[in-house]
Amino acid sequence: MRANKLVAGTLLLAALAPWPAQAFDLNLDLNKLRDVVTQQLKPMSEKDEIQLGRGIAANLLGAAPLVPDAQLQAYVNRLGKWLAMHTDRPALPWHFGVLDTESVNAFATPGGYVFITRGLLLQMRDEAELAGVLAHEISHVVEKHALETMKKGAFLEFAGDTLSQALRSEGSAEFSKIVSAGTEVFARGLDKQDEFAADRMGVVIAARAGYDAYGLPGTLQTLAAINPKDDAVALMFKTHPDPAERLELLLTAMEGKLEQYGDQPKVADRFASVMKSHMARYQPKKK
């Protein structure tokens, strides 16, 4: 596919070369073509990836702020970091945040910005479930699912060099445009196959970190029981495959491979105590 574009570019150049009158226009087109091709072949630098992810995170936080509970946020950050330490990208600047919304959802932007909504947190039984969901999101970052989705669609109008330059000039109009395009991916969702892949990787990360590997399946079972017509799950159901289908595929994939990690700790007591303290402190935001 990519090779085809290169060939097409070369043929275009060869075909148009004999007409000098068109040389000026031609150069512009070819530059753009070269940029687009380069952008697709060359992976984005980690620095650019983090800048982009940070910009999208700022937008997500503009849509829903953090729960104003420092203890809860710190707890989730320590847990998320512990999970990320068991992946191929432990050194990313990992950030975790609980968003103050009753919607049930979770997001991960490129570069290691992971968010879970308070609405989803309130659905969980124990720390192993939280670990499972965070590990699913971490997997999206490790595998660059959102980034690849953006490159295939949202960023096509930005040539490679423009993209990189704009990402280094935070606050510029170009930067905002790119970040807005990137944020929209979270309104549309990732590829279904990316979701299944993140499920399969997430359970392994949670088990490597010492948790009961069946935390994520436990939460998927809970999500499967929620009426999809409920407003709180509208966006999640729109952007993710059916949780019952995810649960079945995931359990099949885990069979014979991760069952022995089903008796690792769920850490239910600490989770209960964190949640009870949070519930006692929490003041719903006035709107």
């Binding site: 937008n59 503009g62 702020p65 970091k81 009753e102 029981a225 009426n227 999809p228 966006l235 209960a272």
Partner: protein, 175 residues
Amino acid sequence: MNRSGINRRFKILVATVGALLFAVAYAASEVGSTRVDVNVLSAPKTDAKTVGQLSANTRVDIAERRGAWMRVKANGTTGWVRLHQVRLGTGPEKTSSQGMKMLWTAGQTGRSGATGIVATTGVRGLSAEDLKTAQPNPQQVQALEKYRANDASAREQARAAGLRERQIALLPKEQ
């Protein structure tokens, strides 16, 4: 025995009964329904002995979760079934009009389970439209930075819960 001794014993009794009631309420929290006809097994293993059968749409009490399995009680039978054989709640599949149950609520000391409040539609949510029109919030990004954890604190929190690291290969990319 003097009066204060009796009083003390009574208080201990009340505290014990209270603790037991709390433990029961805390544990016996979830109900479900079988999604298909299932064999109930004597242990959480595929080669365990079958101790009973439940037809589809039988209400079960979920007594315990262990890995891919749950121990359920129904129609006088107790035993193990697989996670995906049971849907939570008692309504028909995906048409439950009960809405979303919050497992954690402010007025309770623990998970509220089946007695939990029911969230109504129209909650303060996060929609696709909210994301499309979102404007950056730099102050919130700064707050996020503040909560970042380092390796040492992450390791310490894991150690405190008795988590042990494992070397585990990733699952195959495709089924």
